[in-house]
Symmetry: C2
Subunit: 236 residues, 2 copies
Amino acid sequence: MPRTPVWTAIATTLAAEIGAGHYRAGDKLPTEAALAARFGVNRHTVRRALADMAERGLVRSRRGAGVFVAAAPTDYPIGRRVRFHQNIRASGRLPEKRVLRVETRPCDPLEARALGLAPGAPVVVYEGLSLANGTALAHFVSTFPAGLLPGLADTLAEVSSVTEALRRNGIADYLRAETRVSAERASPTQALHLGLREGDPLLRTEAINVTPEGVRIERGLTWFAGDRVTLSLAND
Amino acid sequence: MPRTPVWTAIATTLAAEIGAGHYRAGDKLPTEAALAARFGVNRHTVRRALADMAERGLVRSRRGAGVFVAAAPTDYPIGRRVRFHQNIRASGRLPEKRVLRVETRPCDPLEARALGLAPGAPVVVYEGLSLANGTALAHFVSTFPAGLLPGLADTLAEVSSVTEALRRNGIADYLRAETRVSAERASPTQALHLGLREGDPLLRTEAINVTPEGVRIERGLTWFAGDRVTLSLAND
């Protein structure tokens, strides 16, 4: 039977200790020298274990400062129905939306194409932050056809939840038609909004939501903090 | 009728010129001063137009160097069947896999859980680069249950395509059961593999592939170059 490499055993032990709460999110792990002494191995072996844990997202190494336990990222399911409040509640956290801007303005060419509108047709723009337990997970800018949803701007300013605002404007249900995912660096503004450093990795999604009859009602751009959210796609 | 803001008109014009090939991927755009003179506006308005184009991924600004036309990212569909060679051919490009490593070793705890194996059961590890038209799009590490697929290591070293190697080992079809997507910074090694700078954003996917009967046959980790690939998820 093949022997488990020593670094694997060390990584497994440390991962179990993180799982058991001996080290919590944000805690600094002991130094390489201390871990080498504890496990009776050289620092190269410790480094291999820590690199493996970093690759799996369990820890993050900050140059010159040490190795820290990563916060468990929020699992964010992308399926036929994507609902922020439901997704966050399902992860045992308290959802909240912070409104940065609600305005009505002419659509730009990309919004026109995404929503199937005439050039310059009015759209409701909703910009805000999505939080879980008070921590910002994402920055979003959504646009809706104002012609179809004349009361939406007022409702959004009031209720902040897109699902609830759409319901109050006659859209009882909506479905995710498509999602495109890319990775970007945080701009200075986004870093400020999300409490990240400029250049930190963001997951950017561009989504189209439609009514069950296929009418396009929302184009959503969302930038998730890369270290706080994992998008999960199940094919059932 | 609401008036289109000037910066939107400028962004639309420049985007059309990029689309028409006046400026090509990698080209430097004229300076802000030159664009301000051309459009008869102040530099603030030009900056707003360029920021909008950057947000849409059309251009990238490099501090101190200027604003450059971004390469159109490869659209990479994530659905029930994900096939690298097919995906890249569908985008009109030439797919290629470069083998970095094929080896058989005991699985680690995460691999055991993902593939439903006993601790330490042997897995075939396939590490490599995925290229389109000679440009590296992704770095991947896939693991397969060696007990189920005893000839796979030899076949992979020979054919490089996972689909073809699985077919030659009796797996005629396989399906994507789940995909998890996160954003990370490129490590020094990954930056080297993908021709990026250390810290550049990567899209990381963790995928489980199963046979039509539900047997787990592959756990795939892939790191896509964030500026070269957009994952697209259609809900049909």
